[in-house]
Amino acid sequence: MPAGKHKSRSMRRVYTKLTGSKVVIHYKKRKPSKATCAVCGAALSGVPRERPYKMQTMAKTKKRPSRPYGGVLCSKCMREKIKNV
């Protein structure tokens, strides 16, 4: 039986295999929502979906695409913005 605090689904369940063919449930915190484009609201690619403590350890180049407005606008909206200027 899970402990009382684990009965609610606020934590995500991860099944892990131990040595000796034992399967155990590990309870982990859920990931934050995906990063979205500021104009059209589409999900951004190239932006990892991790908890802040893990984002801190990551390199800056791994956290957003290395182009103008990278990590803020999607590529389509960025192109339109450059064209209009």
């Binding site: 290395s66 182009r67 103008p68 590529s75 960025m78 192109r79 450059i82 064209k83």
Partner: protein
């Protein structure tokens, strides 16, 4: 549309938003560009043409491209290439840093020598301290007297308190012994 000398803005990639001119037409889809961007082959879809076409020869060198763009009021920032540091270069750098540190320490040492001179100035002042010390010597005598008076007063009280306790314990111990004997 993308003839040689066409001014363009790059739309895609890390050079997006930078201006360049077409230097060579490779294909119906690909052109060679140069300018604020890196000199590279580029898909036409990744370029946005502007209304100006410069009169330029085919396959113009980078330096000439920079000059042509300067006439149009577009300045090109030259990137400084970082040379890869070898192990020998690193060791040399470390040695230089050590030398600098040792130099600093040497410069600091003479300052330290000045401090003892100040102490020497203070030495004549020492006798004053000795005088001050002499005064406190008189005070302890008074305190000694007080302590001597205070001590005997306290001790008898303690003894008085201690004695009854001892008696009680002895009585209790005796009784216990008796009980044990029974």
């Amino acid at each position: 549309m993308f003839e040689i000398g066409r001014l363009c803005v790059k739309i895609a990639g890390r050079d997006a938003g930078l201006k360049c001119i077409v230097v060579e037409v490779i294909d119906s889809n690909y052109v060679l560009i140069d300018g604020q961007t890196r000199r590279r082959k580029c898909n036409v879809k990744h370029l946005e043409p502007l209304d100006k076409v410069l009169k330029v020869k085919k396959g113009l060198a980078h330096e000439d491209v920079v000059k042509e763009l300067k006439k149009q009021g577009i300045e090109v920032k030259e990137k400084i290439k970082r040379s890869k540091r070898t192990k020998e270069a690193k060791t040399e750098e470390k040695a230089e840093i050590k030398k600098e540190i040792t130099k600093k320490q040497k410069t600091l040492k003479p300052k330290k020598q000045k401090r003892p001179e100040k102490k020497k100035e203070k030495t004549p002042a020492k006798p004053k301290k000795a005088e001050k010390k002499a005064k406190p010597e008189s005070k302890p005598k008074k305190t000694v007297v007080k302590k001597a008076e205070a001590k005997p007063k306290k001790t008898p009280v303690k003894k008085a308190k201690a004695k009854p306790k001892a008696k009680k314990t002895t009585k209790a111990s005796k009784t216990k012994v008796k009980t044990k004997k029974k």
